[in-house]
C-alpha cells in the first residue's frame, strides 16, 4: 500500500469539511444539527463495537447512555461541579454496562437481544418511577454547560467544536481497537466462538471487555447528550431510542468504521430536516431503510464501496477495449 492512499485523502477531506463547513454555514440551527449528528455518531460507534465486531445485537443501549446522562444531571442538580458530574456520569454508565454484560452475555443471538431489551426497559422504568432521583416524567434540567479551560460552551459553534474533538477521539479509538490483537480476537469470537475457545481464547471475557468499551462510548455520548439538550427525561431511554441507534449502525454498515457515522448522519438528518417538510418523517425513514436493505443489505458504506468498485472495473474494462483504437490513431 502506498503511504498516501485515496482512503487517506478521503479521511483528510472529511475532517477538514467537518471543521470548516459549520463555520461557513454559520447558522446555529445547522451547527446544532451537526452537533447532534456527531454525538449520535459516537453512540453508534459504541453500539457498532458489539453489533458489528462482536456479532451481538443489543436493543438496550439507550439505557447505558441514559444512565450516564441521568447521573450527570443528578450530580449537577445535587450541587457538584462539572468535573465530578462528568466523571460520575461515565462511571455510572460503566457500572450499568457491567451489569448489562454480566446478565446478557449468558446468551447470544435472539436471546441476547431479548435480555438487552429487557434490561433497557428496566433502566427506562427506573427513570420513570424512581422519582426521588430522576424526577420522573418531568425529567431533570441542567442549567449550564461546562467551560473547559475557561472557554464557555454555551454557543452552538463552541459546543460543536468540543463534540467534534470527542467524536474524532472516539473514531481514532475505534480504529485502533479494530486493528489491535484484541479486535482480531473479538471478530474471531463473532465468526467461530467454538474454535476460538479451542484455540485458547476466553470467549466470554473477550465479549465482556468489548461490551465495556461499547458502554464507555455510549456513556460518552450520554454525557454529550445531557450537555447538548441540557435536559433529560425517560423517553431518551426508551426502546425506540435504542432501536434508532441500532438503525444507524445497520443502515450505515455494521462492522465498518465509517458506517455508523454515515448512519447517524442519515437518521438525524431525516429526523430533523425532513420532518420540517414531511410530517410523516417516520415513513420516510422506514422507506429509506427498506431501500437500503433491498439494494445494499450490508449497509450504505460497504454497499457504496462495492458498487463503486464494480463501476471502476466496468470503466477499466471499457478503457482496455478502447485502447487499440487510440494506439492505431497514434501510429
Amino acid at each position: 500500500m502506498s503511504p498516501v492512499s485515496p482512503r487517506h485523502i478521503a479521511i483528510a477531506v472529511a475532517i477538514i469539511a467537518l471543521i470548516v463547513v459549520p463555520y461557513a454555514i454559520n447558522q446555529p440551527y445547522y451547527v446544532n444539527i451537526a452537533s447532534q449528528i456527531l454525538l449520535y455518531a459516537v453512540f453508534a460507534l459504541g453500539l457498532n463495537v458489539l453489533v458489528g465486531y462482536a456479532g451481538l445485537v443489543s436493543l438496550g443501549h439507550a439505557g447505558l447512555s441514559g444512565a450516564a446522562a441521568y447521573a450527570v444531571a443528578y450530580l449537577l442538580a445535587a450541587g457538584h461541579g462539572h468535573t465530578v458530574a462528568i466523571v460520575g456520569g461515565l462511571a455510572a454508565g460503566l457500572v450499568v454496562t457491567a451489569g448489562f454484560a454480566a446478565l446478557s452475555l449468558r446468551a447470544t443471538g435472539i436471546s441476547f437481544i431479548m435480555i438487552t431489551l429487557a434490561l433497557g426497559e428496566i433502566i427506562w422504568g427506573l427513570a420513570y418511577r424512581w422519582i426521588s432521583i430522576t424526577n420522573g416524567d418531568n425529567g431533570i434540567n441542567v442549567s449550564s454547560r461546562p467551560a473547559p479551560f475557561g472557554l464557555p460552551l454555551d454557543s452552538a459553534s463552541a459546543f460543536y467544536d468540543v463534540t467534534l474533538i470527542v467524536f474524532l477521539l472516539a473514531l481514532v479509538a475505534c480504529a485502533i481497537f479494530v486493528g489491535s490483537p484484541f479486535g482480531a480476537a473479538l471478530t474471531g469470537t463473532r465468526d467461530q466462538p467454538r474454535r476460538m475457545n479451542a484455540l485458547g481464547f476466553h470467549v466470554w471475557m473477550i465479549r465482556f471487555w468489548a461490551f465495556m468499551f461499547s458502554g464507555l462510548l455510549s456513556s460518552v455520548s450520554g454525557v454529550l447528550f445531557i450537555y447538548y439538550y441540557q435536559f433529560i427525561s425517560p423517553p431518551a431511554l426508551a426502546l425506540t431510542s435504542s432501536a434508532e441507534v441500532l438503525l444507524m449502525v445497520i443502515s450505515g454498515g455494521a462492522g465498518t468504521l465509517l458506517g455508523p457515522v454515515v448512519g447517524a448522519s442519515l437518521v438525524v438528518i431525516i429526523k430533523l430536516v425532513v420532518s420540517a417538510y414531511v410530517s410523516r418523517w417516520n415513513f420516510m425513514l422506514g422507506a429509506i431503510f427498506v431501500a437500503i436493505v433491498v439494494f445494499m443489505p450490508e449497509g450504505l458504506v460497504p454497499g457504496t464501496v462495492r458498487l463503486a468498485r464494480a463501476a471502476w472495473r466496468e470503466v477499466n474494462r471499457r478503457g482496455l477495449l478502447a485502447q487499440p483504437t487510440i494506439g492505431g490513431q497514434k501510429s
Binding site: 482480531a184 474454535r195 476460538m196 484455540l199 471487555w209
Partner: protein, 245 residues
C-alpha cells in the same frame, strides 16, 4: 507417564451411550490412530478429550495432570491442539490472519486493544513459518473464502502446528481430499517432529495406516481392539466390524 490418558470415560446423549468406559493411554511421541465405522463415537471422544463436551464420568489426563474439568481454552494453553472434521475456520479473514489467530490464542498479546496487529513482526514471522510448513506461504494474503477445500484442510493443520502443541488431535485430516491432496497431507503429517504426540481419527483405515504406531478400534462407543498396526489389522474383530463377516 502417558502424554494423554483417558480413564473410564462415559458420555451419553439421552438413552444413547456414545462413549462407554473408554480407556486410552498414548505415550509421548506416539502416533495413535483411532478408527471405527460411522457413529462409533470417534469425534465425541475427541470433544470429550478437548473439553468441548463434559463427560458423564471418567477422567482425562494430559501428562498426568487431571484436566477433566478444565475448559477447552486452558487445555490449549497446556499444549493441546486439534483440527476439526468439519472445517471450522474464519471465512472472512485471510489465510495469514487465520493462522495469526491460532498464535494469538496462546499469546498474552490477545488482550491488547491498542497495538497494531499487522505490525507484530514476531507473530507474522511465526504465522508465515507455519504456513510454510504446509506449503501455503505463497498465498498467505488470500481470503480464506477463495481457497479450495484441500487448502482449507492444510490451513487447519497449519493453525494447529502454529500453536506448537505437545499433543495434537487430528479429526479426519484426509476427509474429502483427492488422491494427490491425500499424499501431500500424509507427507506433511509424517514431517511432524516426534516431540509432538499425535492422535488421529480416520474413518478410512487404508489412508492413515502407515502413519500409526498403534491403533485403537472403536465401535458403538467401546474400545474393541487396541494394539500395534499388525495386531489390529490381523484381529478377527477388526474384520468383523469393518467387513461385517
Amino acid at each position: 507417564m502417558s502424554a494423554l490418558a483417558v480413564r473410564g470415560l462415559n458420555k451419553s446423549f439421552g438413552g444413547l451411550n456414545v462413549t462407554r468406559s473408554v480407556d486410552l493411554a498414548v505415550e509421548p511421541g506416539e502416533r495413535r490412530l483411532i478408527i471405527g465405522p460411522n457413529g462409533a463415537g470417534k469425534t465425541t471422544l475427541f470433544n470429550l478429550i478437548t473439553g468441548e463436551l463434559a463427560p458423564d464420568g471418567g477422567a482425562v489426563l494430559l501428562f498426568d495432570r487431571d484436566i477433566t474439568r478444565l475448559p477447552s481454552r486452558n487445555r490449549a494453553h497446556l499444549g493441546m491442539a486439534r483440527t476439526y472434521q468439519i472445517i471450522t475456520l474464519f471465512p472472512r479473514d485471510t489465510i495469514l490472519r487465520n493462522t495469526l489467530l491460532a498464535l494469538l490464542g496462546l499469546s498474552p498479546l490477545r488482550w491488547n486493544p491498542w497495538l497494531a496487529l499487522h505490525r507484530q513482526q514476531d507473530l507474522l514471522t511465526q504465522a508465515r513459518a507455519a504456513l510454510g510448513r504446509v506449503g501455503l506461504e505463497h498465498m498467505a494474503e488470500r481470503p480464506l473464502a477463495e481457497t479450495s477445500y484441500g487448502e482449507k484442510r492444510r490451513v487447519e493443520i497449519a493453525m494447529a502446528l502454529a500453536q506448537k502443541p505437545r499433543v495434537l488431535l487430528l479429526d479426519e485430516p484426509f476427509a474429502g481430499l483427492s488422491i494427490d491432496e491425500r499424499r501431500d497431507v500424509r507427507e506433511l503429517l509424517k514431517a511432524i517432529p516426534r516431540d509432538v504426540t499425535v492422535v488421529m481419527i480416520e474413518h478410512d483405515m487404508d489412508t492413515a495406516l502407515d502413519l500409526a504406531d498403534r491403533i485403537t478400534l472403536l465401535h458403538f462407543g467401546e474400545v474393541i481392539v487396541e494394539g500395534t498396526r499388525a495386531e489390529v489389522v490381523a484381529d478377527p474383530r477388526t474384520r468383523e466390524v469393518y467387513l461385517g463377516e
